[in-house]
């Protein structure tokens, strides 16, 4: 095989879009000098589905189900954000019991998401025992969600105007038992990530981001809070039940990977506390209220705190059954910039952990294949690449 010699003294390690270390498609190029990363670029968007465009051609009820499918992990928060925005535009008030149930499901979802992340991040750090443990324990919260909603993911708890199901006494007891078990397990995880020497070797002082950097790079959610940015939409602009059941901000100013681990685990305790509190004083009453199919003209920006950070919805209605425009900005989009800038100066082996540290979730799209030869860069379409492959193998007489 011909050797490829780089003429510009850069050595680029491409990772992805398909790669054993990544479960979702994203493409990363790291410039390296020996083991040390000197530059990084990220290309996203291999799974773009055009949901914003689709939403303009469907009515509000269909859109609720569409938006729930933006993410398979934080599905409930997307549907909640859309439902709350439409309810505000329609000027309806949702019964307090429905808001409490929405809040419980949102917090169960946060527990599920954070535990999933803990497993993935531990796996990237080569700590597969922690990965197995946390995912085993995560089944508890998945079972709870299934018990109350009938589904493990895409719980479909929301209606525009309320929720679909109630939480009865036996379900309440099951949730409390599950939470007690998870509480005990989360204490153990906190001890592990704060005291295990091998693990600390991968996290302490790695990927440090100061508060100023986090603000300039536009980081959100637990990633920003681990750098001391005191920002949580549940507190700043309370929605659904968060005004009645306030959360306590979890903040850490160390800014490294270790801080991102402890912030997320401490947020688990906050979610446990909140669920217990809501269940101990659930408001009584109706589960839903009627909302007209035609939503009066208007526009609204609605922000909610997804497990990964601030989720932004802009909904513009034109008085018909279908929205004029819906814009969704997911939290992962904001956090990508931080990875590209944090990577510089770290070892290549730290990259999977740094990537996992922001809890990335892929939701945009680009498809481009660039071939780098000696000193030319050539862009090929999929069809060109396919034809190139056919010709190449014909030349080798591998296939007829």
């Amino acid at each position: 095989m011909e050797s490829e010699i780089k003429t510009d003294n850069r050595f680029v390690v491409p990772i992805g879009p398909q790669h054993p270390a990544l479960k979702e498609p994203g493409h990363f190029e790291f410039d390296v000098d020996g083991e040390v990363v000197t530059g990084a670029s990220i290309r996203l968007g291999f799974v773009h589905r055009g949901i914003e465009k689709l939403a303009e051609q469907r009515n509000y009820i269909q859109d609720l189900y569409l938006f729930e499918r933006i993410c398979g992990i934080c599905s409930h928060i997307h549907a909640t954000a859309f439902a709350v925005a439409v309810e505000k535009l329609a000027g309806v008030v949702v019964p307090p019991r429905a808001q409490a149930i929405r809040t419980i499901v949102a917090e169960l979802e946060r527990i599920h998401s954070h535990m999933l992340w803990l497993g993935v991040a531990a796996h990237e750090g080569g700590f597969d025992t922690l990965f197995m443990y946390s995912w085993r324990d995560r089944e508890t919260v998945m079972d709870l969600l299934e018990t109350i909603a009938g589904n493990r993911v895409n719980y479909s708890a929301n209606l525009i105007g309320g929720v679909k199901f109630d939480i009865d006494d036996s379900q309440r007891d099951a949730i409390l038992r599950g939470i007690d078990f998870l509480d005990q397990r989360a204490r153990y995880y906190l001890k592990v990530v704060e005291s295990d020497e091998t693990f600390l070797g991968r996290t302490r002082g790695v990927g440090k981001m100061t508060r100023g950097e986090a603000e300039i790079l536009g980081a959100v959610g637990p990633t920003a809070r681990a750098s001391g940015v005191a920002r949580d939409v549940r507190l700043e602009a309370p929605y659904i039940g968060y005004a009645d059941y306030p959360v306590v901000l979890v903040l850490d100013d160390r800014g490294d990977l270790e801080a991102r681990f402890s912030v997320r685990i401490l947020e688990l305790f906050e979610s446990f506390r909140l669920i217990r509190e809501i269940l101990s004083r659930m408001p009584k009453g109706e589960l839903s209220t009627r909302v007209p199919r035609r939503i009066p003209e208007g526009e609204i920006v609605l922000r909610v705190e997804a497990p990964r950070g601030e989720l932004y919805y802009y909904v513009k209605s034109n008085g018909s059954e279908m929205p004029e425009r819906v814009k969704v900005r997911t939290p992962s989009l904001c956090n990508w910039a931080s990875v590209a800038s944090l990577a510089v100066g770290h070892k290549l082996a730290d990259m999977p952990m740094l990537l996992a540290g922001i809890d990335p979730c892929f939701s945009c799209n680009d498809r481009l294949v660039t071939l780098r030869r000696q000193d030319t860069a050539q862009t090929m379409t999929w069809e060109d690449l396919r034809q190139y492959g056919i010709q190449y193998y014909r030349g080798k007489r591998v296939c007829p």
């Binding site: 773009h48 536009g218 609204i300 945009c364």
Partner: protein
């Protein structure tokens, strides 16, 4: 919970000089309509006053409409820059016509805006002057030039062109 009324009052004082019209679409929202030439100065003023952070940039397409005489008005693109501080949301609204869809970049103040600006260029055909990256963000490599999928007139490709 911080008081958003105070934050709205603050931002009104900061942005009033740059805007031609102030709207209140929701109780917690305030919108400032301004020309593209004032955008950079307005963002600078927000940045220097440390009022909030950029939450997202949203674009709206207003296709041409016919009046009763059959006269067609020119279509326009409306770019809204939403800044948030606690529960308060301030929108900077800039409208540009189809014939000259130029807005200035705000990346000199807010570097993380580059992703939103790429989206504006790619999905709506807004030209963002001096933006650091014009690479495609979401459409595929064989996507034709000059076709903007989020414009209202776009309704998919015909079977033959696929």
């Amino acid at each position: 919970m911080m008081d958003y009324h105070f934050a709205l009052k603050q931002v009104e004082e900061i942005l009033q000089p740059f805007s031609s019209e102030v709207r209140r679409p929701q109780e917690h929202q305030i919108d400032f309509v301004m020309g593209a030439e004032n955008l950079n100065a307005a963002v600078e003023a927000l940045f220097l006053a440390q009022w909030g952070y950029l939450s997202a940039i949203t674009c709206l397409d207003h296709p041409p409409v016919k009046d009763e005489n059959g006269q067609e008005s020119e279509g326009s693109l409306e770019v809204i820059y939403h800044f948030c501080r606690n529960a308060a949301v301030a929108g900077l609204r800039v409208s540009v016509p189809y014939s000259h869809p130029h807005v200035p970049t705000i990346c000199n103040w807010i570097p993380s805006a580059t992703l939103y600006e790429r989206e504006l260029m790619e999905l709506f055909g807004v030209v963002v002057d001096d933006t650091p990256s014009t690479e495609r963000l979401v459409t595929s490599d064989d996507w034709p030039e000059g076709v903007y999928p989020m414009r209202k007139t776009f309704s998919g490709f015909s079977q033959e062109s696929r």
